[in-house]
């Protein structure tokens, strides 16, 4: 039965990859990346054998703890680690709970992250190749720790899905989890800058982590190497107890999940409330804009794209505290860049719902215009606000006209560029109602490729106002900044109009083909 579950997992993976060449390419790249990480880690671990035990211990315990922590936290952010053996789909089969448990745990190994973790953890044996006994112990502890990672992530996934089986909760949880993610950047910066000054504290940090469930197993080999057998036994005990506890939690929640199917609670929102549909003009383009804006507020997959917007000022503010006030000027243009490109996955999010729109016979130009208007209705104020805000903090008021020219120019040009690119490319995205952080296999690569192409085009098109603003700021000639503002507004509007026309014409021509690709993605 366990073998059958594993076979099912591989079969699903194989069939999925065969459906689309790009997804296959993307997964091959992912595997290549994972394997090179594995080789790098292995070489590093072997190289540690030449270093003092103290250093080897610090490195292995810290890295290992981070790995375990990652496996526990990441499933909360990205539910997409491996969903093919979703317990909900296996619920109708008479599979004993323990068999299901083993099958699911093993299937976690089949996949790039599981594979790399298991073999990377066992490669800690490489550090002790001069002492065969310790090496064997390290391999065993590594395997146990890797199992802890996989079982732990399963337990967390099942636990969270049991608590959050309703759609609304699932979506809300996804958005709520953005908050720590937004703060992650500054936290990492402050921690790493703290670390740079306090490298001496690292061994003691490793020593205290060794007494926690995160680092216990990783510390066992080095305990033995320095002859502290009693401490080693205690650490091993902590590690095994952690694993046992996680298995127990997972088993209980899985048993619960199997008899608690997903359910939805519906909430009515009073008749006669047309929302944005009543606010926008009653034209096809207005309807698209209103619908689009409703989705920006109601579908967390859209909101997810906006995480970076508060993140950028936070990061820039952090850097600027080191006396580099100039970097603050990047806030406006960067926010404009991120925001304006946010509609390039619009069609992919809609999927086959786009068919309703096609069958109404709407002109492609109206569709493009509506989407751009929806984004601009909140994007443009944000861009202007952030640009002015950054100047307010830095006090470099003379640079404001040029900066506004760049920000607005980039924003409008970006809207034009993504109006074209989103009519050309369909990228794999999580389905409506899924966790917004779930990654469709192959999404990363295709999305990255499209994003880079779009950024490249945008960079070239926005070059005039960027050059004007940069020269104006460095030479101190205020007139150049004002010219930059005019050029940015003019060129940006021009590219927006051209983008909407070209993208619209492309939609008019190839909407059925686009729909076919959207339908295949499901």
């Amino acid at each position: 039965m366990v073998a059958n579950l594993l076979k099912l997992r591989l079969l699903v993976l194989k069939n999925f990859l065969l459906r689309s060449t790009w997804q296959l390419v993307a997964v091959i790249f992912g595997a290549f990346y994972g394997l090179s990480a594995l080789f790098g880690a292995s070489f590093g671990l072997v190289a540690l054998s030449g270093a003092p035990v103290e250093i080897a211990r610090t490195v292995v315990v810290l890295a290992g703890s981070a790995l375990v922590l990652g496996w526990l936290v990441v499933p909360l952010l990205f539910t997409g680690i491996e969903q093919t053996l979703d317990p909900a789909r296996l619920v109708t089969f008479p599979i004993p709970l323990n068999t299901l448990l083993i099958g699911l745990a093993l299937s976690g190994l089949v996949g790039v992250p599981g594979f790399v973790t298991m073999f990377g953890a066992m490669a800690t044996a490489g550090t002790w190749w001069q002492h065969p006994l310790i090496a064997v112990l390290a391999a065993v502890c590594g395997a146990l720790a890797a199992t802890t990672c996989i079982v732990g992530s399963r337990a967390v996934t099942t636990l969270s899905s049991t608590i959050a089986s309703g759609r609304r909760f699932r979506e809300a949880a996804g958005v709520l989890l953005m908050v720590p993610l937004v703060l992650l950047g500054p936290i990492i910066i402050s921690i790493s800058s703290g670390l740079r000054t306090a490298t001496d504290a690292l061994p003691s940090l490793a020593n205290s982590l060794a007494w926690t469930p995160l680092g216990a197993l990783w510390a066992v080999p080095s305990d033995v190497a320095v002859g502290q057998w009693g401490v080693a036994a205690l650490h091993l005990l902590i590690g095994i107890a952690t694993l046992a506890l996680l298995v127990l939690i997972w088993r209980r929640t899985l048993a619960l999940a199997l008899i608690t199917p997903a359910h939805t609670v519906s909430r009515s929102r009073g008749r006669g409330k047309l929302g944005f549909l009543a606010l926008f003009p009653a034209t096809p383009a207005g309807a698209v804009a209103a619908r689009s804006l409703t989705y920006w507020t109601r579908d967390p997959r859209y909101a997810r794209q906006l995480i970076a917007v508060p993140l950028i000022p936070a990061l820039m503010f952090f850097y600027s505290r080191n006396g580099m006030l100039e970097v603050l000027a990047l806030v406006g243009p960067l926010v404009a860049l991120i925001l304006s490109l946010a509609i390039f996955s619009d069609l992919s999010y809609e999927g086959t719902a786009f068919a309703t729109q096609i069958s109404s016979g709407i002109r492609g130009r109206d569709d493009r215009l509506g989407r751009a208007a929806a984004l601009a209705s909140f994007g443009l104020p944000i861009v202007i606000l952030f640009s002015v805000g950054s100047v307010w903090i830095s006090g470099l008021w003379s640079a404001l006209p040029g900066l506004l020219g760049v920000s607005i120019g980039v924003f409008l040009t970006g809207l034009g560029v993504s109006s074209v690119s989103s009519a050309l490319v369909v990228i794999p995205v999580p389905a409506p109602g899924d966790n917004p952080f779930k990654a469709a296999p192959g999404a990363g690569f295709t999305a990255a490729l499209t994003t880079f192409a779009t950024w490249g085009a945008l960079g070239v098109l926005a070059l005039p106002e960027i050059i004007l603003a940069a020269v104006g700021a460095s030479t101190g000639v205020a007139l150049l900044g004002w010219i930059g503002l005019v050029v940015g507004l003019g060129l940006g509007s021009l590219f927006l109009v051209v983008g909407i026309r070209v993208g619209g014409a492309r939609l008019d021509r190839a909407a059925p083909e686009l729909l076919e690709r959207l339908a295949r993605q499901r």
Binding site: R167, T264, R271, K273, V288, Y295, A355, P512, E513, L515
Partner: protein, 297 residues
């Protein structure tokens, strides 16, 4: 019929639009042929056919989903499209409504070539697609309003029709609920409202009665019947044979992308029931008792 009249969507009132659509063709006919009889003959021919499909092909990979299919749907008919799973019904209907590009063949809707004149053809057709997602983060009311506005209608007209449609389809109570929280049957009904809101001359419904409760199904049937008797044309695809036999006046049996039989219900069934005739045409019926191990007692 009376319920339909309330809606103010009488297809008969649309003769003007029909003539405008035809005028191009008429001019062409009179230019090449001066005999008045031939002219009226051609006009009659065009007016009587709501949907005309000629030599339609569509290939997916190495499978011919639609294989030289030709079909005429008379204007004002209630046309059933039946066929086994994978026969090409949905593919054909998608191509007829401008959602999927055919590999070859022509499709005309009331004389308008669908793939030459997409926008104009789409205005004549209302579509309920099977298995396509809806914009389900809108409330039912918002979704139907959205469909109406997309077709370029006035806000006040849209509001009136949305009210009428929600009442007709027993969805008044659910107008303010997000469509994602609807049951399967309610979702079908709201999709039907979206297809109806712009008062199309042809309704193309793919599996409209799937998972709809019997009462709602009867109500929907009344609405469709009223629409047909006021001059509209309905094309439904369905697996439910007795439903098609009772509800439709014409039927086409499709299998492996071809039309096996087409005509009025009586012509096609020829004395037996539609279901028996269907099984006879399509084949593949087994008379077996099932495997040994499945006989429980």
């Amino acid at each position: 019929m009376t319920r339909w009249a309330v809606l103010g969507i009488s297809a008969l009132n649309d003769t003007d639009r029909c003539l405008t659509a035809l005028s191009g063709r008429v001019a062409h006919v009179s230019a090449t042929d001066n005999q008045p009889e031939a002219e009226t003959g051609a006009l009659d021919q065009l007016a009587r056919v709501a949907l005309s499909i000629r030599g339609l092909y569509k290939r997916f990979g190495d499978k011919n989903a639609v294989d030289n299919l030709s079909l005429d749907v008379p204007s004002g008919s209630f046309y059933g499209l039946v066929g086994p799973n994978g026969a090409g019904k949905t593919t054909t209907l998608s191509m007829a409504t401008g959602l999927l590009r055919p590999d070859a063949g022509t499709i005309t809707v009331h004389g308008v070539d669908v793939w030459r004149n997409l926008t104009q053809a789409k205005r004549l057709v209302g579509v309920l697609a099977d298995g396509a997602r809806l914009f389900d983060r809108l409330t039912g009311e918002q979704l139907v309003t959205y469909s109406g506005l997309l077709s370029g209608m006035e806000r006040t007209t849209v509001a009136e029709r949305v009210d009428d449609l929600l009442r007709l389809l027993d969805l008044q109570g659910a107008g303010g609920t997000l469509v994602v929280d609807y049951s399967a049957g309610m979702t079908k009904k709201i999709a039907l409202a979206c297809a109806l809101v712009h008062a199309p001359r042809i309704l193309v419904l793919d599996e409209p009665f799937e998972s709809v409760d019997p009462v709602s199904a009867a109500n929907i049937r009344d609405i469709l019947q009223g629409y047909v008797s006021s001059g509209g044309t309905v094309i439904v695809s369905s697996h439910a044979m007795d439903l098609v036999q009772r509800m439709c006046d014409h039927v086409a049996v499709i299998s492996a992308g071809r039309v096996l039989a087409a005509g009025t219900i009586d012509e096609v069934r020829g004395g037996s029931t539609l279901e028996d005739r269907f099984v006879e045409l399509v084949g593949g019926r087994h008379h077996a008792e099932g495997p040994e191990w499945l006989r429980i007692s």
